[in-house]
C-alpha cells in the first residue's frame, strides 16, 4: 500500500488522523443507516 519513500515524509499519526477525520463520521452514518435498514427484515 505504501510507497518506499512515503514513510520518511508523512508520519503515520498524520495519516491515521486524516483517515479518522473522515472515517469516523462516515462509519457512524453507515451504522445508523444499517440499523434503519434492518427494518426491512423485521
Amino acid at each position: 500500500m505504501a510507497d518506499s519513500n512515503e514513510q520518511s515524509g508523512t508520519p503515520a499519526w498524520q495519516l491515521a488522523l486524516a483517515w479518522a477525520f473522515v472515517g469516523i463520521p462516515l462509519t457512524l452514518g453507515v451504522i445508523q443507516t444499517l440499523i434503519n435498514s434492518m427494518k426491512l427484515f423485521q
Binding site: N5, G9, A18, F21, L28, G29, V30, L40
Partner: protein
C-alpha cells in the same frame, strides 16, 4: 507572499516523501460534505411548517415549491462543473476546494437568512444556485489530482472520493434531524440555526481538505510503478485539450453511456419505496420500504468504490459492459419477481442495479482518463456531468409517467411498473451499443507541446509520468 498565493497550484506541489494516502481523505472531506445534497429532503417537511410550526399555515411553502431547491442545486452542479472545469484544472485542487467551501457554506448561510425572513427566492439563490456551484466545483476538484497520484489504480482512487458523495447523506441526514431537534422551540422549527450550524461544520471540513491536499511533483510516479511504454488499445499516454474532447465521438458516446446508466438507476432510486409497496401489497410495509431505501443507499455508496476498483483490473469498457448486460438481465427479471411474489429476489435485483448506478458515476473519471489523458480529465469530467443533469430529469419522469399511464388504463398497481422495467432494460441495450462503439481517440486530437504553449498551459504542473 500574499494570502492568495497559498491557494496557488505551485504551493500545493508535494514535497518528496509526502504520502499519496493523504489525498483520498482530503477528497473525502469535500465529497462527504457536498453529498449532503442527497439528504436535503429531511428539511422539506419542517420547511412546510415554518409559519404554522405544528402544521402548515396557508402562507407556508408547499412541497412542490420546496422541491425546486434540490432540482436547482443538481442543475447548477452540472452547469458549474461544465463551465468552471478548466479553471478548476488549471488553478489546482486547493483553490477549487476553497471556492467550493465558500459556495457550499455560503449557500447554507444565505438559505438560513431566507428561512428567517421566509423568502423562498433567497433559498433558491442560496442553496440552489450558489450551493449548486459549490456542488459542481467541489465534485470535480479532487478527481484529476487523485488520478495523478494513483496512476496504477485510478478507478479505486476516484471511486473512494465519489463514494464519499454517496455517503455524505448518511452523515447529513441524522445530523440535520438532531440539530433541528435541538433548535426547535415553540415559536420556530429550528431550520435556520440548523442551516447555520451545518454551513459552519461543512466549511471547516472542506477547508481542512483544501489544506491537506497536494498535487504530485512533475514526473512523480509511485515506487515500483512503471508507466506503460506504449499506449494500449484503450488507454492513451497522450492528453486531449478539454474543448477538443467535445469534438470527439468518444466523449459523446461515453456521455450517452453515463446518461443511460444513470437514467436507469435514478428513476427507481426515487421510487423504490412506493414501488416495493405497490408490487408487494401486504408483504412490504411502509417501515420495511424505508429499510429497503436505506439498504439501497448503502449499495449505491459501496458500488461506487467496489465497481471503480474492479475496473482497474477488468478495464473500463468491460466494466460498463457488465453494467449494461447484468442490468438488462436484472431489469427483465424484476417483473417475474413481482409476479411470483419473491420479495427477496426483488430486493437483490435492485441492490445490484443500484450498486451499478453508483459504479457508473465512479468509473467514468478513469474511463475519461484512459481516453483523453490526465491533464484535462477533471475539466472533461465536468462537461460530462451534464449527462447526470439530463438523466436526473428523464429517469424519474419515465418511471412516474409510465406508471401513471398504466394505472389510468386499468393495469393493476402491482404490474404497473413492468413496462418501465422493460424500457429501462431497453435503455441499457442502447448504452451497450454506445459502449461498444468506443474506440481510441484519433491522434489528431492529441495535444502537442507547441500547442500547449499557445493555450497558455505550458507551465501547468501536470504531474503525469514522462511520456515514453
Amino acid at each position: 507572499m500574499s494570502l492568495f498565493s497559498f491557494f496557488d497550484r505551485e504551493r500545493t506541489i508535494a514535497k518528496p516523501g509526502f504520502s499519496r494516502w493523504m489525498v483520498p481523505p482530503a477528497a473525502l472531506c469535500v465529497h462527504l460534505c457536498i453529498g449532503q445534497a442527497y439528504a436535503f429532503s429531511v428539511f422539506n417537511l419542517p420547511m412546510t411548517k415554518l409559519l404554522g410550526i405544528t402544521k402548515s399555515a396557508p402562507n407556508d411553502w408547499t412541497l412542490a415549491e420546496l422541491g425546486w431547491i434540490f432540482s436547482l442545486g443538481i442543475f447548477f452542479l452540472g452547469v458549474s462543473s461544465a463551465v468552471f472545469g478548466r479553471w478548476v484544472e488549471e488553478g489546482g485542487p486547493r483553490r477549487a476546494m476553497f471556492t467550493a467551501a465558500l459556495c457550499w457554506a455560503g449557500g447554507f448561510f444565505i438559505s438560513a437568512f431566507g428561512v428567517s425572513i421566509h423568502n423562498l427566492w433567497i433559498i433558491y439563490l442560496g442553496y440552489g444556485v450558489i450551493g449548486g456551484c459549490g456542488l459542481g466545483i467541489g465534485y470535480i476538484s479532487p478527481v484529476s489530482t487523485l488520478i495523478k497520484w494513483f496512476p496504477d489504480r485510478p478507478g479505486m482512487a476516484t471511486g473512494m472520493a465519489i463514494m464519499g458523495f454517496g455517503g455524505g447523506a448518511f452523515i447529513a441526514s441524522p445530523l440535520s434531524v438532531w440539530l433541528m431537534s435541538i433548535f426547535r422551540t415553540s415559536t420556530h422549527v429550528g431550520v435556520a440555526p440548523t442551516f447555520i450550524c451545518m454551513g459552519a461544520i461543512y466549511f471547516f471540513f472542506m477547508i481542512v481538505g483544501s489544506i491537506i491536499v497536494r498535487v504530485p511533483a512533475p514526473g512523480w510516479k509511485p515506487a515500483g510503478y512503471t508507466p506503460p511504454a506504449q499506449a494500449t488499445k484503450l488507454i492513451t499516454t497522450n492528453d486531449v485539450f478539454v474543448y477538443d474532447a467535445l469534438k470527439t465521438p468518444q466523449f459523446w458516446l461515453i456521455w450517452w453511456v453515463l446518461c443511460l446508466n444513470v437514467t436507469a438507476g435514478i428513476g427507481v432510486l426515487g421510487q423504490a419505496s412506493a414501488m416495493s409497496q405497490e408490487m408487494f401489497p401486504g408483504k412490504v410495509t411502509v417501515v420495511a420500504a424505508a429499510g429497503f431505501v436505506g439498504l439501497m443507499s448503502l449499495f449505491n455508496m459501496g458500488g461506487r468504490f467496489c465497481w471503480a476498483s474492479v475496473s482497474d483490473y477488468i478495464g473500463r469498457k468491460n466494466t460498463y459492459f457488465v453494467f449494461m448486460v447484468l442490468g438488462f438481465v436484472l431489469y427483465c427479471t424484476v417483473p417475474y419477481m413481482g409476479a411470483t411474489g419473491s420479495v427477496v429476489g426483488f430486493v437483490l435485483c435492485f441492490l445490484v442495479i443500484i450498486s451499478m448506478y453508483g459504479g457508473g458515476f465512479s468509473t467514468v473519471p478513469a474511463y475519461l482518463k484512459d481516453m483523453f489523458g490526465t491533464r484535462y480529465v477533471g475539466a472533461i469530467h465536468g462537461l460530462l456531468l451534464t449527462a447526470w443533469s439530463m438523466a436526473g430529469i428523464f429517469g424519474p419522469v419515465l418511471v412516474n409517467y409510465i406508471r401513471q399511464y398504466n394505472v389510468a388504463h386499468g393495469v393493476p398497481k402491482a404490474q404497473a411498473y413492468n413496462v418501465t422495467m422493460y424500457i429501462m432494460a431497453g435503455l441499457l441495450v442502447i448504452g451497450f451499443i454506445c459502449n461498444l462503439l468506443v474506440k481510441a481517440v484519433d491522434r489528431r486530437y492529441h495535444m502537442q507541446p507547441d500547442r500547449d504553449s499557445a493555450l497558455g498551459t505550458a507551465g501547468l504542473a501536470s504531474g503525469k509520468p514522462a511520456r515514453a
